[in-house]
């Protein structure tokens, strides 16, 4: 068994070149959006806008301006499937299409998925969507095919600034923690890791170094598993079912008594 592998994405060195997006699309043979017609977002320099079935890497542009637009800050973050150790998508998939690999990554088997879309609703990060070319739910596989051949994932190999680093999770975490300390010393007190420890869904095997609150990057502060609601919801519904049945029986009895009178 190989040890758990993953991504450490240092957003502070991302330059928004989108080489990772292109490399991902090329390697995984993902189709163009809108059948190749160019569609501009109109309110951002980013025209990809979000992760979906045909965009497994997405460089988010966080374009911030002051009220009078005299000051601005640009944050960039190459977003990807988080390959959660406790994965919401895997938990709810009714076909068993979603599996955990020997690299501790999460993969959707395209030959098993039937496109019910439960995983899309379950993912706390909005990573998954349908790829209409295959008619199945798709997302980053952490280049499972390349990993099996001992290669580095396409995005990490293409990244020119080492914002995307690939390797054994244990090593990546040590490297990331050193980098956070360095940034604090350099006067970036807001620098922090996102998903690097086990408190978040057992740990994200694609974790981040970010320089502001998670929400600024479109990340949930405290992502949860869908089954957190299962017990309460199911119990309440069972109580409801008992009430309806009881109401039926009682109203029947009442009818009988009315008829006797």
């Amino acid at each position: 068994m190989p040890e758990p592998m993953g991504f450490y994405t240092d957003t502070t060195v991302c330059i928004g070149c989108k080489a990772c997006e292109v490399a991902c699309k090329e390697w995984n043979q993902l189709p163009a959006a809108n059948g190749g017609r160019r569609e501009l977002s109109g309110d951002s320099y980013d025209n990809t806008r979000r992760l979906d079935g045909i965009h497994w890497r997405h460089v988010k542009f966080v374009e911030q301006f002051s009220e009078d637009r005299s000051q601005e800050r640009w944050l960039m973050m190459s977003d990807v499937c988080k390959h959660c150790v406790r994965a919401a998508c895997l938990e709810v998939c009714p076909t068993g299409a979603i599996i955990r690999t020997e690299f501790d990554t999460v993969v959707i088997q395209a030959d098993v998925c039937n496109g019910c879309r439960m995983c899309i609703a379950a993912c706390p990060f909005g990573v998954i969507d349908i790829n209409h070319a295959s008619g199945t739910a798709q997302k980053c596989t952490l280049c499972y095919d390349r990993l099996q051949a001992g290669m580095v994932p396409a995005c990490a190999q293409a990244c020119p600034t080492q914002s995307i680093q690939f390797g054994p999770i244990r090593e990546l975490k040590e490297r990331a923690q050193r980098r956070v300390k360095q940034l604090h010393v350099l006067g970036e007190p807001r620098a922090r890791l996102y998903g690097a420890d086990e408190s978040m869904l057992g740990g994200l095997n694609a974790f981040y170094l970010i320089a502001d609150e998670p929400e600024v990057y479109g990340l949930p502060r405290d992502p949860q598993l869908p089954t957190r609601n299962l017990f309460k919801s199911a119990t309440l519904s069972t109580v409801g079912a008992a009430l309806v049945a009881l109401l039926g029986v009682v109203s029947f009895r009442k009818r009988r008594m009315d008829q006797r009178v």
């Binding site: 076909t95 998925c113 439960m118 479109g218 919801s233 519904s237 109580v239 079912a241 309806v244």
Partner: protein
């Protein structure tokens, strides 16, 4: 902002709304039919039989629209058998997996109950099937079909809650709300069917109307609890969806039939409209929400 706002929509729209509506009616109708069968008199049995037919029709439609809604409909069986090993596919903690089995078992027992009812009426070329409607066997089939029917009526709300989508995962009240709504729409649909077939003046029809009014009260309470449980998230209902919920679901679908229960047929129609609108609002109000994050204002 709720963490659910950062997720993506599963594009469950009209087919799923239709399934939630029809599946609820089917499950509720079979439960009502079994009550009439177990506790009722001989003159109640025509409406009991209609309940089983309604349940069977609803189960068939449910299976059909669920299959159509899949991106790969021919792979519907991947939810029943593991496509690689052929072993049964079942996850007790995944509502959709449990729901597939629940719907199938509901369909199977309802088929038996409906076959027994049809044989009783002499509608089938196999008259001996009437044993399916008689004695301990008939009661057992009816009770099992009803238990799966009640499951079908409520699990859809639990399925929505066991996700990470806005509104759905922000409350634990959707299951019980859908269950009450299923019971009220089932009584309404059965009442309309009874009227259509000349049984509108039966004592059982009057009982259905009275049962419906009581369930509507429960439904209203569950709806209030649901909206309150949303907390801050309830703000997304401010606007068109909230108006539809207030006027369509509460006004037309619950309060009007409660305040003006006569004539039964009009009240029943309004209950059906309200039940359909409830599922429409719950599914479609959540759909467009996707926070890309990144407030554009620099702090």
């Amino acid at each position: 902002m709720s963490d659910t706002f950062f997720t993506a929509s599963p594009h469950w729209t009209w087919w799923i709304i239709l399934y939630f509506f029809v599946g609820g009616i089917a499950g509720g109708a079979v439960m009502l039919a079994t009550l009439l069968r177990l506790l009722g008199k001989p003159e109640d049995q025509p409406i009991a039989r209609l309940g089983y037919y309604l349940g069977l029709g609803g189960a068939a439609v449910s299976g059909l629209v669920l299959t159509i809604d899949l991106e790969r409909p021919l792979r519907f069986w991947h939810m029943v058998f593991q496509s690689h090993t052929g072993l049964p596919m079942f996850k007790a903690w995944a509502p959709m997996s449990v729901g597939v089995w629940g719907l199938m078992l509901f369909g199977a027992f309802t088929l038996l109950a409906a076959a027994g009812a049809a044989a009783e009426e002499g509608r089938l070329p196999w008259p001996r099937l009437h044993i399916l409607a008689e004695g301990a066997l008939g009661r057992g089939i009816g009770v099992l079909a009803s238990l799966f029917g009640l499951f079908l009526a409520g699990y859809t709300g639990v399925l929505l809650a066991v996700s990470n989508r806005p509104i759905w995962a922000d409350s634990n009240w959707l299951g019980i709300l859908f269950l009450f709504s299923a019971a009220s729409t089932a009584a309404a649909a059965l009442l309309l069917l009874a009227t259509r077939t000349g049984h509108g003046a039966d004592a059982a029809a009057t009982w259905l109307a009275r049962f419906d009014r009581r369930v509507l009260v429960l439904e209203l309470l569950a709806l209030i609890a649901f909206v309150v449980s949303l907390g801050q998230v309830a703000r997304v209902l401010v606007g068109g969806w909230g108006v539809l919920l207030l006027l369509g679901v509460v006004g037309l679908g619950i309060l009007t039939p409660l305040v003006r229960p006569e004539p039964h047929v009009r009240a029943a129609r309004l209950v059906l409209v309200g039940g359909f609108l409830l599922r429409t609002v719950v599914l479609l109000a959540s759909a467009p929400i996707h926070a890309a994050g990144a407030g554009v204002t620099l702090r």
